[in-house]
Symmetry: D2
Subunit: 425 residues, 4 copies
């Protein structure tokens, strides 16, 4: 048993596993905070949902709350194939089999193709057992596959669009260890509590205070804060507050699209957003947003517009002044677009990923499209807040797997001034 | 023509109307700001929607923007009955016939019964032509009927449940003048602009500033500000802000139900709302709201609880300290309820109406049931703001006819601190 | 141990519990499907959330999936009071202490008052240990208290408004056994799957087919099907389908308010709902719903209107023809109301409870107010479906504790024809 | 005056306009169905909102409902500049000045640049007065500019991204005629009624019947029906119904993105959508959608997958079998994407426009991004239906100007089976 390398924090490891062909059974073993972290009930649920059977062979409960428990369970299928399916699901849940620790892989049959049996990733930290040791998967993203470079001892996640013929792709489910998040030993905070559901009936100011506290401690620890934002931020009058947050140093990158920049610049130049004056709340000229695009195109870029002295305030003004990176992804509904927009969706994804890969805190503000895109790129370890007036955005994020996102159902136009106020306080 | 008394502000008056049985036609006349206030297009729309025809006999356009226009139109139906139906609708829209100015009425056939041809009210200021003069309808409410006391020259609105046999009820549609709201001569403000739709993408801080300004000027002019509130106000942490607004003198009455009081008191006594601690955002004992009810029941009333020194903060503490009236209507979902709750829906309605009848500003905060109830009692002259996280509440208010309500789609938990901040500023 | 009566299905029973004053610790024991039903992780979560500590003394895992597990755990607090709080929460979660099985109770200090330490109920089946035996709590409702009649060996739930001075009320948390629902041993069905969240992105026709199947099997087994419905049912054109469902025998009671009946009758008499013609989707007279009320008031009741031959179709026509009971609760926003409406909220609650107490299937259709009211009255064993276009209704139901409600986010106007189609198929 | 060519249907034409510099006034004239189509009240509203003044010089009202009215109005500003601003807005609303009928244009200063004074289009049919004649603007889209080719007598709309240096761009607002939609002379149908708001409380089956009727008559008249769809169509189980609609010949093109195709193919191959089995509503493998992408990539295209016999049902199977064109636009959140997806947003827009330019009926099903993109490309003459569970999608469409879109707030999973049923009936 000592031959199995241990990760510092993990939940379920099988260290012996004997398959019995005759009885369609296999022994799996688990170790970790099995009970309170739900890993064990997930394993048993899975078996029962799939109409399998199980038998506990051994159960050593961790006596104190910091101790690990361990157990060995015989899982029984109706047929060999049935057993195989159950085991396969269990491995996704976090179990691991001992007898085949070495990960298996196959060469890709062609560019942008995977072997049929490719392993599909979760967004939980994952390692594979390669060359006799556990190697952590780099650039982890959800619903992707894993490329292996055995000679370099490297494994990493990659979108299918970047696969080349002959790349070695992890297949099957052996030799893979998924570390589900542990619950904190000393009670849960606002984040964990909020996480549970998307109800709008939550105490707003307390939550905002907690987020501000968390942002401050993140900034102190040099964590990278990434803001994902949609154009409703401008329409709702929140632009000056995000601009101030950038000035205060709480934003390390902004991910968005053409519309955020266009309306931010429209507001800075003409005082309107989508043609509505934000001070006096009156409809003015709907041509202003095209005029804003025209100004950027004539200047050559947002940066050039700032340098020419024409753009003197707003989110993008502050980003450029502070040299904070931003990526604008093109979309089918763009007017213009302005030169900074990356029109190729593949390239835009790559640039987003570059920004996101070392993020420690992601704030999603009133953007469905970009939030879900970013959600798919995030490890479940990254603190993620999603603020939207529409509870369905958070529901969608969860449906697509970004389970760690904390949903704040409110208007960004009222959320942002209160948040900035706390950040300054 | 001089025999027709003129109201100071009105929109459409017919001063001659000749019915031609043979051609199924009738001449109506209108006077007022016919064009820019849409009264004329509404009249023509109605005729066309009902497959009628029309012919302009005369059209005197008001030359300058403060002048009235006048017109006489021959409305033509396919049959006499068809004509009658069209004319009936036109009278609701704001037209009036000259030849029968005297209002018609019939005795109610029994307690809680109306004559079949009863006139059904709108929420726009309405007068009836009684004893040779225009008399304004008192206690106007939407979707009600009008009682006439010819001997006292009084007319008033009344719910059907309060009708006694023999009460004189206005029938048909003659002798009734409905004054639709005029648009301001000098451009529209935030209220009129917002009125147009329920989009959440509006500039929050500007709108809140404008509401604060409007509340201040209302307070200066001794207008009555009524707050309608639901329990989500407490869950979202907004209670201290409404309490402060009361302390600042911006609340002249509160209309709500059992839950608002219970959760306000639960929060004041135990720091929780529906069992969730609002400071640390942790689930605590779900029994706290029943315990709060028990405390009130033991004291005998909220007031007694304040006087006993046990209740020392919160919305209801401030209401009692400032002697601001409140009405709590019972509902099928009440726990308790506490003694102040009026369990009979008819009595609760009467008490609400008493509060609402001289209101000049109504703020609806996160309450569907009470907001729609109050909306039905309001004249269209009353400034009405409806704040809710859920756009459907405002849509429902409109569907039920409270067309003047301005919807602010946001979380009351973020709206209230910003509003109170502006009120103090 | 043999002295402890066993329920057939339960989850956690402590059968020895030794309190150690010096170490602030207490031994609790649990028995049941501890792991896969999450009872054990809930217990440990609770201890850790409350900053307590624990130690496993013994753990006997149920070997096969139908076997129970048992465990004894020493729970450790920082002080005696801290320990007491933790134990108190654990008892709510489903643990039980052996040494004081006999339930404790106190006389109510006055009418509509509870002893301060009253026990507050959940909606999970609950028993109390009385006179040396487990007695199941009758009329169980959520967030209520328990009355004991020791001489009759009876215990039952009661709203606080019905408490008389001297009634014996359960206090503290000893001698109470709460049975949390078990997960099915053989995998979950549509109900359990749906239960997990309120996403609108679910396969509609499959779910409707499953609901129809479940309704059919319920009807075969003489289960009582209760429909809770709001007036949007009429506006969306679903009335004929609910009428047909009644005719088909799938409705054993209807709970609603004034508006459902008024608009149903408006539609039956005039073809409109809130004045909108439902066939041609055109606005017609907004007075129709008051006219409908007037017709009912003149007839004396809905039943009389049916018997007079004037009301010949619709939901209430079918209810009366089939002698299916209905309860209409009054509310602050009622027009009329019609005679069948119960204006006193307390009496309406009592009548609702009467209907609901032996229900086995509750269908909530487009009604927030009545759904939440009914939700509070239901045991968690009752199959509950909530259909609403607005996901917030289901979220609210959950927030208020009706955790078993399965939310179907869709328009009742499209849901009902598809459901009736399946019921007939 | 006879020199002004008349369009068959238009609303406001100024045929004399005398500017008086001294009085800051200008005479405009209007002709058309001025009153009931709101053109006149819009003109007067605009003047008053901008604090201007007006005086009617002449008003000839159209006597019968099919007659046009004409009027001449002196518009008065406070300064010359103020007057200019007011006139400029009036021209957008639909007024026109006689004295400068010839449209003005300027050469573009560079690739992807506009002259600062460019005219910004609405989505209402527009003509410019060029070489002494009215020429209709081709490829009309909202919020774009107009390119003039005087030598060819051609004018057309173009996105700014396609402008080349030297292109002649319409500037100012003279010589431009915007035809606002007229209201039907004989009453409104379901479409116009629904148009008024986004309330979910509408009679579903009547509306669906009306849409089916409209689709049938569109098909008979060889109108082009374009479906815009999002992936929730698949998750909600509506795929077989859209597939059937294609088979029935009611779909002439489909506009969507990667996800619709991926989940449609996932469902066809594995019975799941986002890993959830749509028949038994159980979570199955989340890797299935990546596996579906892999199958398409290995085949080389969807078409190849159909031809290989592997893809045998579903939306895309039917599209390929019937040779119905589809365009899939890439987005930042795509997995894969599959080969048919156009990754460059500019190119995807161009392909969408190609499909949309001769559409007569557009059905938007559960897609925010693509619906708003398509909405921006549509003339206001195109019948547009937007079906979404989320009322905010329709609100957004309106906020962005697609005012003609009729919103149906319901689940596509229940809407589609009812629609297909009507189409077959």
């Amino acid at each position: 048993m000592s031959s199995i390398p241990r990760c510092k924090r993990w939940q379920g490891i099988v260290f012996r596993s004997v398959k019995d062909e005759e009885t369609h059974s296999q022994v799996i073993e688990l170790e970790g905070h099995l009970i309170d972290s739900n890993i064990l009930s997930k394993v048993l649920d899975t078996v029962m949902d799939m109409q399998g059977d199980f038998e506990f062979l051994e159960f050593n409960v961790g006596k104190r709350k910091d101790d690990y428990s361990s157990t060995s369970i015989r899982v029984i299928g109706e047929t060999g194939e049935h057993l195989e399916k159950i085991i396969s699901e269990l491995l996704r849940v976090g179990a691991m089999l001992q007898e085949t620790p070495e990960v298996t892989y196959e060469a890709s049959p062609g560019d942008m193709m995977l072997p049929d049996e490719f392993y599909c990733t979760t967004h939980h930290p994952t390692s594979v057992y390669l060359n006799g040791d556990w190697v952590e998967v780099e650039s982890l993203m959800m619903d992707k596959h894993i490329i292996v470079e055995p000679e370099n001892n490297r494994v990493y996640c990659m979108p299918i669009s970047m696969v080349n013929e002959g790349d070695l792709v992890v297949v099957g489910d052996r030799g893979i260890m998924v570390k589900h998040p542990e619950r904190p030993r000393e009670g849960v905070g606002v984040f964990e509590f909020m996480n549970s559901d998307v109800s709008p009936e939550k105490p707003a100011t307390s939550i905002i205070r907690e987020i501000a506290r968390s942002l401050k401690s993140n900034a102190v620890n040099d964590g990278k804060i990434v803001v994902v934002a949609g154009p409703a931020l401008i329409h709702t009058g929140a632009a000056p507050y995000l601009a101030e947050m950038i000035r205060l140093g709480y934003v390390d990158a902004v991910l968005s699209g053409n519309a955020l920049a266009v309306h931010d610049i429209e507001y800075a130049l003409y005082g309107t957003s989508l043609g509505v004056n934000l001070e006096h709340v009156k409809a003015q000229s709907p041509r202003n947003h095209i005029a804003a695009i025209n100004q950027v195109l004539k200047a050559g870029s947002i940066k050039a517009l700032v340098e020419s002295g024409k753009l003197t305030k707003g989110i993008f003004y502050e980003l450029i002044k502070k040299d904070v990176p931003f990526v604008l992804a093109g979309s089918i509904r763009d007017d213009g677009p302005i030169p900074e927009v990356i029109k190729c969706s593949g390239e835009a994804q790559a640039r987003y990923r570059e920004i996101v890969k070392d993020a420690s805190f992601v704030i999603m503000l009133a953007s469905t499209l970009h939030s879900i895109a970013v959600g798919n790129m995030l490890s479940s370890q990254v603190k993620t807040i999603c603020v939207d007036i529409n509870p369905s955005v958070v529901t969608k994020l969860s449906d697509r797997g970004t389970s760690q996102a904390v949903g704040i159902v409110t208007d960004v136009g009222t959320f942002m001034p209160l948040l900035v106020n706390e950040l300054k306080g």
